[in-house]
């Protein structure tokens, strides 16, 4: 959709970014040595560090991606919330304390504490780099998404802006400022999400005929005796020619007898068998001189009407019977008024909602049209798993395994993320590491409970952009109040800044400390090491910008799921075995990290999801035999464990 910038959000936004940069510059002046740059001298208070964990972790993916996925698919987005939080249990109970005791600056230090091997340093450094870059992609995509409605820029401008600001932050600052900025943002994000949730509950639900722009979508009821075409003509519609690909999928193009507008309608399953129902769809076709939306050029102005655009969607059509006679809005719609958190879920499950899905069709002239179509769903249906992970409702085995694999990777992934692991070095001892993790779990858990309400609130707000799931949370805020929209967008954007700087810092540490100093054996003074790390930050930042533009249209949380898979496959087996198995050898760790990283990356790059959504190309059949599902975790994590064990056993030194 077109996004018109308004002054207020821009001002709030600039104030926020300015404040963030100010803190970075001020504190950055204090971190000159390498232990200050990478680990904040180990002097961050545990409570601050705990909330900073939340700031690091509740990234663009959590906020934008999960809300978006819940807003478009319901419960399945919440599965990510559950998985992301469960991962903290692994981090706290298994990894936190030993990590704190073993390491100094980076994840590779911890792995290498026992063996002091250049090989481990290199393998762990590269895996840190790979995971960080993978995790950077969704953050950058999220940044672009936020800037679009806020400042009215194109997606790529947002990506470049974030990249530039973050490079500036990291180069001038380091872990001290990053931590304080994360603390600030972590608290504000949770606070404002809570405010937003309270406002959603206050607003309750309202039964409407369409989105917030007031446009009423057409529904055509036909007797269902003869062909669709004949019956459409009979009630006054003029049929327009459609391509074969459209007809096969029950799409028709017609001219309305009342308004003379051109409509695309789709036949849907009717409530009663004897009748036939057709619903109005929305279309989007990129052409040479712009984008056609619903048959007209996007942004074109006809008469006094607002510029042509897709209509915002997502609304409640009917509320439970108890509200039908009681409450009315000034427009005459039924409304529930304020609801409690449990009543909210009950009313939602008993209401009928209109939610939108999409389908992409190739046209004969080489263009491709995305058709967005509504479907009427009972709320209770939306509150069950299976709308996004459709596989779990089927009887086949592979789709179910795909789902298990994702949930397994989310569980194992948190404790293997380098930018989370380095935060254990910013506090003074193991007890502080433990306490800050508990604060982190409390903050993050509370936020994830809120995501369900934010997502369902967005789904029924009438403000959703059919073309972009990731925009759900900011658009929801805008539908309530412009101020709130400004605050939420600014916080989310600074959250992106913070997470990205944490990731870039982790990558820079990997390059300067692990690879160049540890592996290449470059002699560096403390000062030089910090300078090399800053140069590395710039390079990683540029790569991240490029990837952020490339992956613009994927759900950010889905991308994060992949980063978790790579992290869990490459890092977790090495970390766990080193802590709990005495026979682990240096060679075993190197082999485990390399095999876990290579297999999970390879699996993702060759998966059917990547072929469909990134390469946009057909996938060779033989790959389907080799890689029958998209999520690698359930195969590659055990594979990495197995490699580590086998190599360790075969390289045991003879005990005297």
């Amino acid at each position: 959709m077109i996004n018109e910038p308004s002054l207020l959000p821009v001002l709030v936004f600039l104030a926020f970014v300015g404040l963030t940069l100010g803190i970075s510059f001020y504190l950055g002046g204090k971190a000159k040595s390498s232990s200050g740059y990478f680990a904040a001298h180990g002097q961050i208070p545990w409570f601050v560090n705990g909330v900073a964990f939340a700031g690091d972790y509740l990234s663009a993916a959590s906020f934008l991606g999960i809300c978006g996925m819940i807003a478009f698919y319901g419960y399945d987005g919440f599965l990510y919330s559950i998985g992301y939080l469960a991962g903290w249990v692994v981090a706290l109970f298994v990894i936190a304390e030993p990590m704190k005791r073993m390491g100094k600056f980076t994840f590779a230090d911890a792995l290498n504490a026992k063996f002091n091997s250049r090989g481990i340093q290199l393998a762990a450094g590269i895996s840190t780099l790979a995971v960080s870059v993978f995790y950077l992609i969704p953050q950058m995509v999220g940044a672009g998404v936020l800037v679009q409605p806020l400042l009215g820029f194109d997606h790529w401008v947002g990506v470049v802006m974030v990249g530039a600001v973050v490079i500036l932050i990291v180069v001038t600052a380091g872990m001290v400022s990053t931590t304080w900025v994360q603390f600030l943002k972590g608290s504000l994000l949770v606070l404002f999400s809570a405010v937003l949730t309270i406002l959603i509950l206050q607003r309750g639900f309202e039964a409407t005929d369409g989105g917030i722009d007031g446009y009423q979508f057409t529904t055509i009821e036909l007797p269902g005796i003869r062909s669709v075409e004949e019956e459409l003509v009979e009630v006054g519609y003029t049929l327009l020619p459609v391509e074969e690909a459209w007809r096969d999928k029950s799409y028709y193009r017609v001219t309305s007898p009342t308004s003379n507008d051109e409509l695309v309608v789709k036949e849907v399953n009717s409530a009663s068998d004897s009748k036939r129902t057709l619903v109005e769809c929305q279309t989007r076709t990129p052409v040479a001189d712009g984008i056609l939306v619903n048959g007209k050029l996007q942004g074109s102005v006809i008469g006094d009407e607002p510029p042509t655009d897709l209509h915002p969607v997502g609304h409640v059509r009917t509320l439970p019977a108890e509200f039908l006679s009681t409450q009315r809005t000034p427009d005459g719609n039924t409304t529930t008024g304020p609801l409690g958190p449990i009543a909210f879920l009950r009313v939602f499950s008993e209401s009928e909602l209109v939610i939108w899905s999409n389908e992409k069709l190739q046209n004969e002239d080489g263009t491709a049209t995305t058709i967005f179509y509504p479907s009427l769903t009972r709320g209770a249906q939306v509150l069950q798993p299976g709308a996004k992970f459709t596989g779990i409702r089927k009887s086949e085995f592979w789709p179910k395994l795909n789902f298990l694999s994702l949930m397994f990777a989310l569980f194992c992934g948190t404790a293997s993320l380098p930018h989370i692991l380095i935060r254990y070095y910013t506090v003074k001892d193991a007890a502080a590491a433990r306490k800050s993790t508990i604060v982190g779990i409390a903050t993050i858990g509370f936020f994830y409970v809120l995501t369900l309400y934010l997502g369902l609130g967005a789904m029924t707000s009438g403000a959703m952009d059919v073309t972009n799931e990731n925009m759900a949370a900011p658009l929801l805020a805008r539908s309530i109040n412009e101020w709130l929209f400004a605050m939420i967008s600014a916080i989310a954007f600074t959250t992106v800044l913070g997470t990205v700087s944490g990731l870039i810092l982790a990558s820079a540490g990997a390059v300067a400390h692990d690879i160049l100093k540890g592996y290449v054996g470059l002699e560096m003074t403390d000062h030089e090491q910090v300078r090399i790390a800053k140069l590395a930050s710039v390079a990683v930042g540029v790569v991240a910008i490029a990837l952020g533009i490339l992956f613009a249209n994927m759900n950010v949380t889905y991308l994060v799921g992949w980063a978790f898979s790579v992290a869990a496959s490459a890092n977790l087996p090495a970390l766990v075995m080193l802590l709990f198995w005495k026979k682990t050898t240096c060679q075993g760790i190197i082999a485990g990290v390399v095999v876990g990283m290579a297999s999970s990356l390879g699996w993702i790059l060759l998966s059917s999801d990547t072929f469909a959504q990134v390469y946009d190309a057909p996938r060779p059949d033989w790959l389907a035999v080799l890689i029958p599902f998209s999520q690698p975790g359930i195969v590659t994590i055990p594979l990495s464990f197995l490699t580590l064990i086998v190599v360790s056993l075969s390289t045991q030194e003879k005990q005297a």
């Binding site: 419960y75 919440f78 599965l79 919330s81 559950i82 939080l85 469960a86 903290w88 249990v89 692994v90 706290l92 109970f93 298994v94 304390e97 030993p98 005791r101 449990i342 009543a343 879920l345 009950r346 009313v347 939602f348 499950s349 008993e350 209770a380 509150l383 069950q384 798993p385 299976g386 779990i392 409702r393 179910k400 789902f403 298990l404 949930m407 397994f408 569980f411 001892d429 193991a430 007890a431 433990r434 306490k435 993790t437 508990i438 779990i441 409390a442 858990g445 994830y448 409970v449 369900l452």
Partner: protein, 102 residues
């Protein structure tokens, strides 16, 4: 010595809690994957099994984290108490040693 015992005790407690939570988590995941119809079962109107179990997974993670935090023996506590008792005697000994050598 005392710090390594507390480390082992903490690690054992951590692994137990981890194991308990894993069962709870993977129980949920397996039900979602292989018996999705169960998750629609409503405990009270609006609160189906998927939602209640999901919220519970978040709440239980926090409760177990608190249990762990309270039950864990801290390295610094024994490390501080042990020297507090031994330091004076050590000092006395070194003093007498010094006197003897003199």
């Amino acid at each position: 010595m005392s710090s390594s015992t507390s480390q082992t005790a903490n690690a054992r407690l951590g692994l137990w809690l981890f194991f308990m939570y894993s069962l709870f988590y993977f129980g949920f995941v397996v039900v979602c994957a292989f018996a999705p119809s169960w998750s629609a079962w409503e405990l009270t109107p609006g609160l189906n099994l998927a939602i209640v179990w999901g919220f519970a997974l978040i709440a239980v993670a926090f409760v177990l984290a608190l249990v762990y935090g309270l039950a864990c023996k801290t390295d610094t506590v024994p490390a501080n108490t042990v020297p507090a008792n031994t330091v004076p005697t050590d000092k006395v000994q070194t003093d007498t040693d010094a006197e003897r050598s003199r």
